[in-house]
């Protein structure tokens, strides 16, 4: 055994260079936990890094610890969530010591981030809460409670500074499965403290066996409090003092420790940290949604605690644009980046970062539209664009209210809503649901309802296609759209929503997501990991894709499965050119108006597209002033065709408008 091997791992099989079960070669010790050690290892067949966790020799023969270790592996494997660390293998090495092989994560845990930063912004905290709730929600649905939710068990993969991280929950080592409750194995004994004291729930502090998912939600709220304020809500000089605080004392309001936080955050903590589990949030989803709403628009700003601009739309607001220095435009050349090549729908090889905003842009282009947003399943804004400077949080707020109001409708027939239209005196709100996301568009009362509806349906169909391309779970779809910055409108090019990359362009994320799914068929989670590892060196180009796939195929032992994989994988990228389709629309100008903070006069012509390409920036983005641009009849995308009126057999007069080269029937 090498001299530098850990002394506690006294069994000779655990040292750098050791081979475990013929599958993993240990590289180096990554860290130690309460029950064992975690090693960086190399998967010998797949040639990828993995993390292998061993139970310490001291616990090796203790039935409860062995059981707990096995439960950790089973729990994490069953949950199968992108927000829970992926378990690849579980077994015993030669000396009988149990191990769990997991995906190797690179990043830092929330504990280390807090050490480094003191406290975190509302936006980062909201993302932490949201991701943790998704992982916990999945576990809870399976009857699994984590029971040790704390910053050190919340691992952030990716950059934390720009909120681009993905959170993964670690260490289900003290998890409790409801299904195990009646079996021989029980994860704890009465009176035994399980979990990390500062983040424990009152029921855990009591040493109760009656600990369920609501304990996790309490602990997550403690983490959120720590993130926002820099301190934990319950403290003390001794463990006894700490436990007394948890079971009997109320925390200092977070707003007192972090001035500028919305007051609603205090209400949220009051409920989330209630001593009585029955009075806490009923589910991880409820907790996340309530937190998002409590934080409000602070969630969309990493540092700003005070920029609370009320969302106000006034009659005619879109039409009035005073000559003000705050009126900002950002010009964007239509040739910026690579000029789009228009092709028919092989969207599997499109550029995903452009496709989603393009789909939204198509709707934003309709006259009298004030803004559009893609809102996620927890009412979080994913991408949004607003000429009027409507904040993303307004779209989230409206979507949440709509969802709540439609609960009773959905219970009528146990089906999900597909579309909703609200016609107010001074505004029109349309929502289309795509997978778990909502596309919401807000316009003035002057927006043409049929044109808007058709346009929104078209955008929703495109988003639906993207979701399907990403696989039935649509996980890749969500990650793709989640990575889009707000207000990203890269190009508006009529019907040409698909950009086929050239041979030297990288293969799209959606294609890689599909490839991962195809590769996971024969190899499971290990296959996904193998692709992730290989992509760290960069995405393959379209030209290099076949070689990339062939190299992956070599990892599949079974010849039949290998052949099937090659066929499916190579089909994902077609390099031959499709026939071009002429662009239907001209480049577009969308000029920003000032934030709608006051009632404005009605009946002024609307802003419409114009041959100068530009996009509307967020209201706070600095830039040069722009003069008002009058409506141009020649560039209005909706062109009434008087001659298109025709009588149908029933004697009714039909009217049509042309929109993007399509003849659309209107009913008045």
């Amino acid at each position: 055994m090498p001299a530098n091997s850990p002394s506690s791992d006294s069994l000779p099989s655990i040292f750098p260079g050791a081979t475990i079960s013929g599958r993993f070669r240990l590289e180096r010790l990554l860290g130690r936990g309460s029950m064992g050690s975690v090693w960086l290892a190399r998967h010998l067949t797949l040639d990828v890094d993995v993390a292998v966790k061993f139970i310490d020799a001291a616990f090796r023969d203790q039935k409860d610890h062995r059981g707990r270790f096995a439960l950790e592996a089973q729990a994490a494997a069953r949950i199968n969530s992108p927000h829970v660390v992926n378990v690849l293998d579980f077994g015993a090495e030669a000396s009988g010591r149990l191990y769990i092989a997991m995906e190797y994560l690179q990043g830092e845990d929330v504990g280390k981030l807090l050490e480094r930063s003191g406290r975190l912004s509302p936006a980062i905290t909201a993302r932490i809460v949201s991701h943790a709730c998704r992982g916990l929600g999945r576990a809870h649905a399976l009857g699994i409670a984590h029971r040790d939710v704390k910053p050190e068990n919340l691992f952030l993969v990716g950059a934390t500074e720009d909120e681009g991280f993905v959170l993964k929950i670690l260490d289900f080592g003290v998890a409790k499965s409801a299904q195990k409750a009646g079996s021989d194995f029980v994860g704890t004994v009465v009176g035994q403290l399980v979990g990390s004291p500062a983040y424990m729930s009152p029921e855990q502090a009591h040493g109760s066996l009656d600990v369920d998912y609501r304990s996790d939600l309490f602990s997550l709220a403690v983490v959120a409090y720590h993130c926002l304020t820099g301190v934990v809500p319950f403290g003390g000089d001794s463990l006894a003092e700490l436990l007394i605080g948890i079971v009997s004392k109320e925390p200092v309001p977070a707003t007192r420790l972090t001035p500028g936080l919305p007051r609603a955050v205090d209400d949220w903590f009051q409920r989330a940290l209630d001593k009585n589990p029955a009075r806490r949030f009923a589910s991880a989803k409820d907790l996340a949604q309530a937190f998002h709403m409590a934080i409000g628009q602070h969630a969309s700003s990493a540092t700003d605690y005070s920029s609370s601009t009320p969302a106000v739309i006034a009659r005619g607001a879109a039409q009035v644009r005073p000559l003000s220095g705050s009126d900002t435009v950002v010009h964007m050349s239509p040739a910026a980046g690579r000029a789009p090549s228009a092709h028919h729908a092989d969207v599997s090889n499109h550029t995903p970062s452009a496709a989603v905003p393009l789909a939204l842009a198509q709707v934003a282009e309709v006259a009298n539209v004030l803004g559009i947003a893609l809102v996620g399943p927890e009412d979080e804004p994913v991408a949004h664009h607003s000429l009027m400077g409507l904040p993303a949080s307004t779209f989230s707020d409206v979507t949440r209210r709509v969802r709540e109001s439609l609960d009773t409708f959905e219970s009528l027939e146990s089906t999900r809503s597909q579309a909703l239209a609200l016609y107010f005196e001074h505004a029109t709100v349309l929502i289309r649901w795509v997978e778990s996301h909502a596309v919401i568009v807000v316009g003035t009362e002057q927006v043409h309802p049929t044109v808007l509806s058709v346009s929104l349906n078209a955008a929703a169909s495109k988003l639906q296609t993207l979701a399907k391309q990403a696989g039935s779970a649509a996980i890749a779809f969500r990650s793709t759209i989640s990575s889009l910055p707000d207000n990203e409108l890269t190009e508006v090019s009529g019907t040409a929503l698909v950009v086929r990359p050239s041979a030297n362009d990288p293969v799209s994320d959606v294609t890689l997501a599909r490839l991962t799914q195809v590769f996971a068929k024969p190899l499971g989670a290990v296959g996904r990991l193998a692709i992730q590892q290989r992509l760290k060196g960069g995405k393959p180009t379209v030209q290099a894709y076949p070689d990339f796939v062939k190299r992956l195929a070599q990892l599949i032992e079974d010849a039949t499965e290998r052949e099937a994989f090659l066929v499916d994988a190579l089909r994902l990228v077609q390099t031959e050119a499709a026939p071009p389709v002429p662009l239907a629309a001209k480049p577009t100008v969308l000029v920003a108006a000032p934030p709608p903070t006051q009632k404005l006069a009605p009946a002024v012509p609307a802003l419409t597209p114009n041959p100068v390409a530009a996009i509307a920036p967020p209201a706070q983005r600095p830039g040069p002033a722009a003069p008002p641009r009058p409506r141009s009849a020649t560039t209005d995308p909706v062109i009434p065709l008087p001659s298109a009126a025709a009588a149908d057999p029933a004697g009714k007069t039909k009217k049509f408008v042309m929109y993007r080269g399509r003849k659309i029937e209107v009913d008045e």
């Binding site: 739309i313 209210r401 709509v402 109001s405 959905e410 009528l412 027939e413 609200l422």
Partner: protein, 111 residues
């Protein structure tokens, strides 16, 4: 409540014109005052009343004024609602891709 637009005869006329499964005149509180067609008017009026109260709040969020009409399309059904000051007209039909025309027609009928 009875008026010229929402008496029983008009209910049937609206039902025929809109080609929907049912039409009902609902009080603001969700009580079905009159209905025509084969559907559960009582339940729909009650559910609509609850939803409408919450949807009206969106108008406050957006400073958008009064809610005038709305429709909801689910996987199986389409619901059309025309709001009035103290009551609403509610219709239910099969799910359609373009519910706009029916929604407008109902709104016109309610005037």
């Amino acid at each position: 409540m009875k008026d010229s637009n929402t008496n029983a005869a008009n209910m049937n006329a609206i039902l025929k014109e809109l080609k929907v499964q049912g039409v009902a005149h609902s009080s603001e509180a969700g009580e079905a005052l009159e209905s025509a067609g084969g559907f559960d008017a009582e339940t729909l009026c009650a559910v609509t009343s609850i939803a409408a109260a919450q949807l009206r709040d969106i108008g406050d969020v957006l400073s958008a004024g009064r809610l005038e009409r709305w429709y909801l399309v689910t996987e199986q059904q389409a619901y059309y609602i025309s709001e009035r000051s103290d009551s609403r007209l509610v219709a239910a039909g099969e799910a359609v891709k373009n519910a706009e025309a029916t929604s407008k027609a109902l709104h016109r009928a309610a005037r």
